[in-house]
């Protein structure tokens, strides 16, 4: 038992040591995100809190308004900001983090000022201080411990929430967590989570130490150990700044240091998208002079599409059916060529975006059951489920539950619904069906886990699911400036069928290999990395 546990830890340690340069870089980004947003929140929150403490009505209004912001779930907040700011990356992340940091800072400022004993404030007034002097010389210094506690809360919560900003491409330690979730890789999740937790403890400790160092030394313990340590405590914030600066410079992202031209490639946050992102990136790196800025793991279709139309990324791989239904809001069609033609024409017209040639495979939805169930009950098609649908429990991704061509489409076309539908994370969904916690899931036809977990995809006999052929989508403006990208990516056209894609996905999902390694291996096996002219 003990040995197994130790082995786990040492495995993880060597996993982490391999990634130290990136760990530094992400830690630096994380500190910058948290530091800048907490700083902004202090700059806005302290004056706001002071203002709010001057009058009951203002106090209720200000605290109420900030409280409402606080109730917006963090991912929804990021999505809203993405739409408002029209950018992915650091800017919307810092705005979101600042908004979350405001409440504890403003509330504690108000509480702190109101908590100053009435007799002390009256004395200040009675000896002839002006309002400004009362505030500056008496109320604020006495409210300081409570205000600092608010800043501490804001900073620690900020370190936690900042892990989510990886969803909109702002980097930070959340990048590991995000990637780990996409790849069902616990070691990667921990590589983000453990440093983030340590960072939170460190930030908390540093602020606490600074606050303690700021308190004047009492006459009665002038010569104590503590008194001598106070100057040291005051220097603690320098430590954090130094850590941030060091981390940011220690390992810089290759694209940031590249002086030539860059292509920014995005991806959604699941395995296949990461592999496709790597395949495209490595082809471009091998055959052009462009440097690739990998902005992978964006939190879903809308994040990618918004980023692309806003010019924050230059290309990513999209699926024809997703373009048709989710982006263009068109009715479902089952003919692959006609779908491709519609998205190609409409994307060009509406968004100035170009669909390049598809990779070859169709990654569509398949309602999927355990193979044992399928044998026992003779389930081959979705229609076969109709008679027992009243007793079946389904586990779907949130996206599938909502999409017109997802569960609503199934209900319409087949005329039945399931007893219970749970929204599950993609990786949890497979475990849930294997463990018998749900009976039906929405698998993707290219998912390696279908074969690995002994699952049976059911035939879509009424053609609800549109074709989902994957293809690179690129900004027309970028394509005009870099026509060579079209040629390079054309070499990937048609090289991946469903079986191949299942195999590549499985390498990453079940063998825990890096998408970049799997992609490189595939490209060199296929001879795609060699020059052809």
């Amino acid at each position: 038992m003990g040995a197994g546990w130790l082995e786990c830890v040492s495995d993880w340690m060597s996993f982490a040591i391999d990634r130290i340069p990136e760990l530094w870089f992400r830690t630096g980004q994380h500190l910058v995100l948290t530091g800048v947003s907490t700083g902004l929140a202090i700059a806005i929150g302290l004056p706001l809190g002071i203002l709010a403490s001057t009058n009951k009505w203002l106090r209720a209004t200000v605290l109420g308004a900030i409280g409402i912001f606080q109730t917006v779930p963090s991912l929804a907040m990021l999505a809203i900001l993405l739409a408002l700011v029209g950018k992915i990356g650091v800017v919307p992340a810092i705005i979101a983090l600042t908004i979350y940091a405001l409440l504890p800072i403003v509330r504690n400022t108000v509480t702190g000022i109101e908590g100053v004993p009435h007799e002390v404030v009256e004395a200040a007034r009675g000896i002839g201080m002006t309002h400004g002097q009362q505030l500056r010389m008496v109320q604020l210094p006495l409210a300081m411990p409570v205000m600092i506690a608010g800043i501490r809360t804001a900073a620690v919560v900020g370190v936690g929430i900042a892990t989510l900003s990886a969803f909109i491409g702002a980097g930070g330690l959340g990048q590991f967590i995000n990637r780990g979730l996409a790849l069902s890789n616990t070691q990667l999740i921990l590589l983000g989570a453990i440093p983030a937790a340590l960072l939170a403890v460190l930030v908390d400790g540093v602020i606490a130490a600074t606050a303690w160092g700021m308190q004047p030394v009492r006459q009665t313990d002038k010569h104590s150990m503590g008194a001598r340590l106070k100057p040291v405590a005051l220097a603690m914030p320098l430590l954090l700044v130094a850590l941030g600066v060091y981390a940011a410079f220690e390992s810089r992202s290759p694209a940031a240091s590249h002086t030539g031209q860059t292509v920014r490639i995005g991806s959604k946050n699941f395995t296949e998208q990461l592999i496709l992102g790597e395949l495209m990136s490595q082809m471009i790196e091998a055959h052009t002079d462009l440097a690739v800025d990998r902005r992978f793991n964006l939190g879903g279709t809308m994040f990618c599409h918004e980023a692309l139309t806003a010019g924050e990324i230059d290309l990513y791989a999209e699926y024809t059916g997703t373009g048709l239904v989710t982006i263009l809001k068109r009715p479902v069609e089952s003919d692959a060529d006609s779908v491709f033609n519609i998205v190609r024409t409409e994307y060009k017209k509406q968004f100035n975006l170009e669909w390049l040639e598809p990779f070859g495979f169709n990654n569509t939805y398949a309602l999927t059951v355990r193979k044992s169930d399928s044998r026992e009950k003779g389930w081959q098609t979705i229609s076969d489920l109709a008679s027992s649908s009243e007793t079946l429990r389904a586990g779907f991704t949130a996206e599938f539950s909502e999409r017109a061509d997802g569960y609503p489409g199934v209900r319409n076309a087949y005329g039945f619904s399931f007893a219970e539908v749970r929204d599950l994370e993609p990786s949890l969904m497979y475990q849930a069906v294997v463990k018998g916690e749900v009976d039906v899931i929405c698998a993707f036809t290219t998912d390696g886990r279908i074969a690995a977990f002994d699952l049976q995809p059911l035939t879509d006999d009424r053609h609800v699911f549109p074709p989902y052929f994957a293809a690179p989508v690129i900004r027309l403006g970028y394509l005009r400036a870099h026509p060579e990208v079209r040629e390079v990516l054309a070499r990937l056209a048609g090289v991946l069928d469903e079986k191949t894609m299942q195999r590549l996905n499985f390498q990453v999902d079940e063998h825990g290999r890096r998408p970049s390694d799997v992609a490189r291996e595939f490209l060199s096996e296929e001879g795609l990395l060699t020059q052809t002219n």
């Binding site: 004395a123 000896i127 006495l142």
Partner: protein, 252 residues
């Protein structure tokens, strides 16, 4: 000289009166004690003198000038005030607490420092030992000495004291009363002192003004009030302590 002329104060839109039609004079160099039970309006009266509370009607003159015509901030800096809850600034050392009014008035630092030493000596706190301490490093009596020192620091002509010894034990209170009495005689300050303690009033007062339900009952020297109470309220107020004192002396 402080002159109150038909001063009234009502709270809550005229519903209840804390002070009604109060007229009195505090003479130059005099120590006047406002005596009464809680709620009689004595603290309200004191606070109206330096405009911590504004009167509803009537006028108050300090040194012949209407207080409502002066900047309240400037007015308060020229009148020493000792607060009921002491009200020292807990984040300031003794030296900073004492020098605060001179600092607000813009005295140069070396003049301030010299004055702090002088005044701390005066109230019986050796500056070398006490000036670096924080209020929570002092006993209750020491804190109140700092409170008095703070009120005297800018050498004001007038001193307002709101039950300054209320929270102290009897022995400390007694010695502070004696010291204050000799101090104010020596410095010649014009003092208004609020208390509900009859013995304190008798000890400190040149004259006592007895207040009841916002009205002035009698204003006179302690001797005169004891021998010739103007109202039944005043007579009853002093009867009990006098009896106690007599009983105590008789039993000795």
């Amino acid at each position: 000289m402080i002159t109150l002329n038909r001063v009234s104060k009502s709270f809550g839109g005229g519903g209840s009166h804390a002070v009604r039609e109060l007229s009195l004079q505090v003479k130059e160099g005099e120590s006047l004690v406002l005596l009464g039970s809680s709620g009689c309006g004595k603290t309200t009266t004191l606070k109206m003198i330096n405009r911590l509370i504004e009167p509803t009607s009537g006028t108050i003159h300090v040194d012949g000038r209407d207080v409502t015509k002066q900047d309240p901030v400037v007015l308060r800096r020229t009148i020493g005030y000792v607060f009921q809850g002491i009200g020292l600034f807990p984040h300031y050392r003794v030296i900073q607490n004492v020098e605060i009014v001179p600092r607000l008035m813009g005295w140069p630092p070396n003049k301030r420092r010299a004055r702090v030493r002088e005044i701390l000596d005066l109230v019986g706190l050796p500056p070398d030992e006490f000036s670096g301490r924080f209020p929570d490093e002092l006993s209750g009596g020491q804190q109140q000495r700092v409170g008095v020192a703070r009120a005297l620091a800018a050498d004001p002509k007038y001193l307002l004291m709101d039950e300054p010894f209320g929270a102290l034990d009897a022995i400390t209170r007694d010695s502070l009363q004696q010291e204050l009495k000799s101090l104010s005689k020596r410095l010649g300050k014009t003092t208004v002192f609020v208390t509900h303690d009859i013995f304190e009033a008798l000890t400190l007062a040149d004259r006592i003004a007895v207040l009841h339900e916002g009205r002035l009952q009698q204003i006179d020297t302690p001797k005169k009030i004891l021998s010739d109470p103007a109202t039944s309220f005043v007579r009853e107020l002093f009867e009990k302590p006098a009896q106690q004192l007599a009983a105590f002396q008789g039993g000795d």
